[in-house]
Amino acid sequence: MSKKIVATTSLAGCFGCHMSLLDIDEKILDLIELVEFNKSPIDDIKVFTKQCDIGLIEGGCCNSENIHVLKDFRKHCNILVSVGECAIMGGLPALRNGIPIKECLDEAYLNGPSVRHNHKGIIPNDDELPMLLDRVYPCHEIVKIDYYLPGCPPRAELIWNALVALVTGDELKLPYEVVKFD
């Protein structure tokens, strides 16, 4: 049987979900026996080089680039999994929903005590910077998501067991301790 191919990305997330994946510790060595990694921040593959079986998404969408990456993942991954609260419902970054984005920018670049000499009132707006969205969107509002792994971050065992289940096709056991929030 050829190895299943996995891709991962971090959108508007804190990378904690990726760190939790690394918290499977020694099993990382088993993991690379089990699957092959394609596009992922942990390796140097920056664009999809083939169609993938499983895509793991950390974080929701807060800017135009997140949307672009998420759609690209949907296109290149047969199964897409929202990993963690940010991907599932926006998480901490979504605390900005309900506050006009202008107020957030003003606070960071104009009103803060250590930018008091920004006399020109510069707020970053270069063409190289993606457009901020009006609010932070959970992934399933942008593309179809097949599975959800709860937690902030989901525990290492949950991510591991879910990956094994997806690869082997065996049913995943979900005891309460594993799916409760924290």
Binding site: A12, G16, I42, D43, S114
Partner: protein, 483 residues
């Protein structure tokens, strides 16, 4: 025809960023920029939250070193609840937090060196990108990979025992800590089956320093010459000038080693530090206010700390620091790749500190929290794995946060990282007809040396895009290449 090169995403660093390099008609590097493309708005949306939420909220800016944010926020709140700065806590409160922090530095440094940076050293900057990653290391250098994985695991287990959870724990609370360390927990770290015990971690950390020194000997030109440029350096140091990653006073030295800040109480940080905003990056540019934005920028992190500290208060790391300082005749070390060396010396120091703390009976005592008279404003600083981290909160009469200001470690390194990118781009790309993957990775290697956590820097995190786009002299897009 000039061109613009974009490297996007920058991989094997933590965060969202991209690099653009503009070349002119003759192929000379005209302009380089490291753009941070994420924005969170944390300073605004935390307003109105009860102050005690800060240590659990803020760490969700960054899952790579959440403990640093957790502790910096808690230290700011110590001031607010009247428990004083740093040394006002009970011995158990302070030492549990220190243990948590050294566990954090240990795991984060191990992650960076083994998982993110070692592939460049082991396979070469222009090695095959398909194996130039931690998986390649695991397949080709299994012993080394296992060491890295187990060192990270040890640090994460220490965090779990002190903070309650490996990622986004809850241990530190305003004025102290919410648990002590049981005898069973302590013994599991001191007497754990090989390799999961403190002695082994010290031994492995020493071996990692030796590995780097050996590599350095064999690759002097790369390690000494790559992205080297003069700068000032800033960090916390203990009152007596010792390296202290948890608490101290601010010290900065200039490129000749002259102290330009010393013995500064960080509650007054605003008298010394200011931030510049530039339109092309969400990450701000901090600098020393009295020197000004042009010359006042500085480096933070392991290299800066090994430069600013007079000595390290643990014997094995102190020995290594002496060798490190002797290499530049006691002058500040300005070589970006020596950041790896300094990081491993700190890894050894953290292992020694964990062992020392685990043997301290104060960790089993019950006096956990201190309370005093509440005040409205508190500043908390800590030396996070990536450098000095500033948290500043002000609260109102309803105990709600009214103002929050963060200057995170990677933001402090914004200008240095931009300089490093520029120096490598000029060296590798000037006059080249074709941009190779190896040249693009060289730019990333320079950024990676700073172990940037671009997530917390923009108060965001994730993959850092590196994309090289070629623009002509009139700014028309000619070519775009993702490495």
């Amino acid at each position: 025809m000039g061109q613009k090169i974009t490297i996007e995403p920058v991989t094997r660093v933590e965060g969202h960023g991209k690099v653009t390099i503009h070349l002119d008609d003759k192929g000379n590097v005209k302009q380089t920029r490291l753009h941070i493309v994420e924005f969170r708005g944390f300073e605004r949306f935390v307003q109105g939250r009860p102050y005690w939420e800060a240590p659990v909220l803020v760490q969700r800016l960054c899952g790579i070193c959440p403990v640093s944010h957790h502790l910096a926020a808690a230290k700011a709140l110590d001031v607010i609840v009247g428990a004083g700065t740093g040394d006002g806590l009970t011995p158990t409160g302070e030492k549990m937090r220190r243990l948590m922090h050294y566990g954090q530095v240990f795991q984060s440094h191990a992650l960076h060196f083994f998982h993110l940076a070692s592939p460049d050293l082991l396979f070469g900057i222009d090695g095959d990108p398909l194996i130039r990653n931690v998986i390649g290391v695991a397949l080709k250098h299994k012993d080394l990979a296992v060491q890295g994985v187990m060192m990270r695991k040890f640090g994460q287990e220490i965090i779990k025992a002190t903070a309650g959870k490996k990622i986004h724990g809850t241990g530190a609370i305003p004025g102290g800590i919410n648990k002590n360390l049981s005898i069973e927990e302590r013994d599991s770290f001191l007497k754990g089956a090989d390799p999961m015990n403190a002695d082994k971690m010290v031994e492995w950390a020493q071996a990692a320093v030796d590995f780097f020194k050996g590599y350095h000997k064999a690759n002097k030109a790369l390690i000494d010459g790559f992205a080297t440029f003069p700068s000032s350096h800033l960090s916390l140091v203990r009152k007596d000038g010792a390296m202290d990653l948890y608490h101290g006073v601010l010290r900065a030295i200039d490129t000749n080693g002259k102290k330009i800040l010393d013995d500064v109480d960080y509650q007054d940080y605003l008298d010394y530090i200011d931030e510049e905003v530039r339109p092309w990056s969400y990450m701000k540019f901090p600098y020393l206010y009295n020197i000004g934005p042009e010359e006042g920028w500085y480096r933070v992190g392991p290299l800066a700390r090994c430069n600013t500290a007079d000595f390290i208060p643990s014997p094995l790391a102190q020995k290594e620091l002496e060798i490190f300082k002797a290499y530049t005749n006691g002058k500040p070390n300005n070589m970006s790749m020596h950041m790896h060396w300094a990081r491993l010396i700190e890894t050894l120091h953290s292992a020694e500190m964990m062992r020392e703390l685990l043997n301290d009976p104060d960790l089993q005592k019950d006096d956990l929290v201190v309370k005093g008279t509440k005040v409205k404003r508190g500043v908390g600083l800590i030396e996070a794995p990536r450098g000095t981290l500033f948290h500043h909160y002000e609260i109102n009469d309803q105990d709600q946060i009214e103002m929050a200001n963060l200057i995170v470690s990677t933001t402090n390194n914004n200008e240095p990282m931009n300089r490093a990118v520029n120096s490598v781009a000029v060296e590798y790309m000037t006059g080249q007809k074709e941009i190779t993957e190896g040249m693009m990775n060289a730019v990333e290697v320079a950024i990676r040396a700073y172990d940037p956590c671009l997530s917390c820097a923009t108060h965001a995190l994730g993959q850092m895009p590196l994309e090289i786009t070629l623009y002509d002299a009139n700014n028309n897009l000619i070519d775009k290449k993702r490495s």
